[in-house]
Amino acid sequence: MASCDLAVIGAGPAGMAAATLAAEHGLDVVVYDENPAPGGQIYRAIETVSLARNSDLAFLGESYRAGAALARAFRASPARFMPGTTVWLVQKDRAIGILRDGKAAMVQANRIIIATGALERPVPVPGWTLPGVMTVGAAQGLLKSAAMAPSSPVVLAGKGPLLFQLAAQYVAAGVAIAAILETGARPIAALPHVWPAWRSGTIGKGLALLRAIRQGGVNIIRNVVALEAEGRGRLEAVAYRTVRGTGRIATPLLLLHEGVIANAQLTKAIPLAHEWNERQQCWQPMLDADGNSDVEGIAVAGDAGGIGGAEAAAHSGRLVALAALKALGKIGRIAHEALAETERTAWQRHLAARPFLDALYPPPDASAQLADGTLVCRCEEVTAGQIREAVSLGCAGPNQAKSFTRAGMGPCQGRMCGLTVAALIARETGQSMSEVGHYRIRPPIKPLTVGELAALE
């Protein structure tokens, strides 16, 4: 079995920063990422854009450009990068199951840093499975990786920094936006958190985005309380309701976004110990100050350990790498302290903006107004009503509801429905989300074929 000192899973900002630092200090580092190039979601295709589509940086913006330096340093480091590699298993003994070019293999790592980032919070609305309904992140990925933009005026619906960033990018690229439907109200609760967010530069950037969007003449409709995607076989229109009344916009493309959550699929599958983050309304691994989990030798960096954003993620990655270097005897305690102090300070400065953002864009209650007919599990086509019925038949938690309805049994393994199913159960039974718990996630966390597993090396 192949082995390494340190395996880093995910080549986004946290993974790149962690691998670069650890490899520069002499560790044998291997980095796995499913994508063809480093960058993760936030800096997706940063190398190609920097080299071949430099002019696109004009609309992709400053914060995206920042990824280029990270990627350059990562490529220049001795870390071994394995793109196009799917990690489908991590065991507590730090054996890792990978799949590359149709070949499955197990590798043994001395230490593991999990940097699997975030995913967009799945929030079902009626009609969200229609072709023409996608996520804001999906559309931004297309803009970065393929310079693709909506063919017709697009509707963006939801809230959060990523939504406004994409809107500003579209405005800058001359792409037509039919409307932004901003869900929920901007709450007063955000006010006490303004100062740390201002100091971190977050508010300044946010205001600049909003200014750019307004200057682009985009119609922003606020206080949207209900959304529905309409159409037969394809999206034809978006119907919405605000506190003032209802409206309907004809469009072939609706992009949804309700913030991001830690991508806990891998950390749950190991399983590491997790806790419910009430503020961000998602599960995240329980970590110490150095990012160590409850399992010896397995640490988590960046958004996979709790949402902090791209800049925080890079610092978090270096902090976790420093801990690995200390643990493996590559740096002493004093050197560690000195280096870690700088990273920790920078990390915390970026994290300081989160309470403001979390309060400004509070996660919607997925269960509150979900109609019985709305699909919750996209894979197995299970509705909110079926989940409620399963609860009434005695299913006390997500795993029983899964057995009963097949919700969460499809290929996405509950990534899209897990939080919604739990929220429905919590509401029906009067339990808290942490009492209700989550699906037991089982490897492989990404499908592999019977033939690939049979030929496991």
Binding site: L119, T129, M134, G137, P150, S151, R415
Partner: protein, 103 residues
């Protein structure tokens, strides 16, 4: 009409054209694009029929988590087309609903 268009349709990247076949129809894509991206820029953005109800689905998350972009690629069923980069001559099929199982 397609859902997405390429911003640089007439740009210097034209030499980078790759031809794939989707359900028997030739489709021009750009080197480096995912199969799902190429499909979204085509006149039919759908990737598959939902396995239970049979309704059409299209790529949704474009980052490998939603599994709605499952397609048959070069004879392998249920592949995540958003994670597969186009290659010259690639044979792609939309996934139909599996035939009903009896009894």
């Amino acid at each position: 009409m397609s859902l997405f268009r390429r911003l640089h349709e007439d740009g210097p990247g034209d030499a980078m054209t790759v031809t794939i076949t989707v359900d028997g129809v030739a489709l021009q894509a750009r080197a480096g694009e995912s199969v799902a991206a190429a499909v979204l820029a085509s006149s039919d953005p759908t990737s598959r029929a939902a396995p239970v109800g049979g309704a059409p689905r299209a790529p949704y998350c474009m980052m490998g988590v939603c599994f709605d972009c499952l397609m048959e690629i070069d004879g392998e069923t249920n592949r995540q087309s958003c994670m597969v980069i186009v290659r010259e001559g690639m044979m792609v099929k939309r996934m139909a609903r599996p035939k009903a199982v009896t009894p």
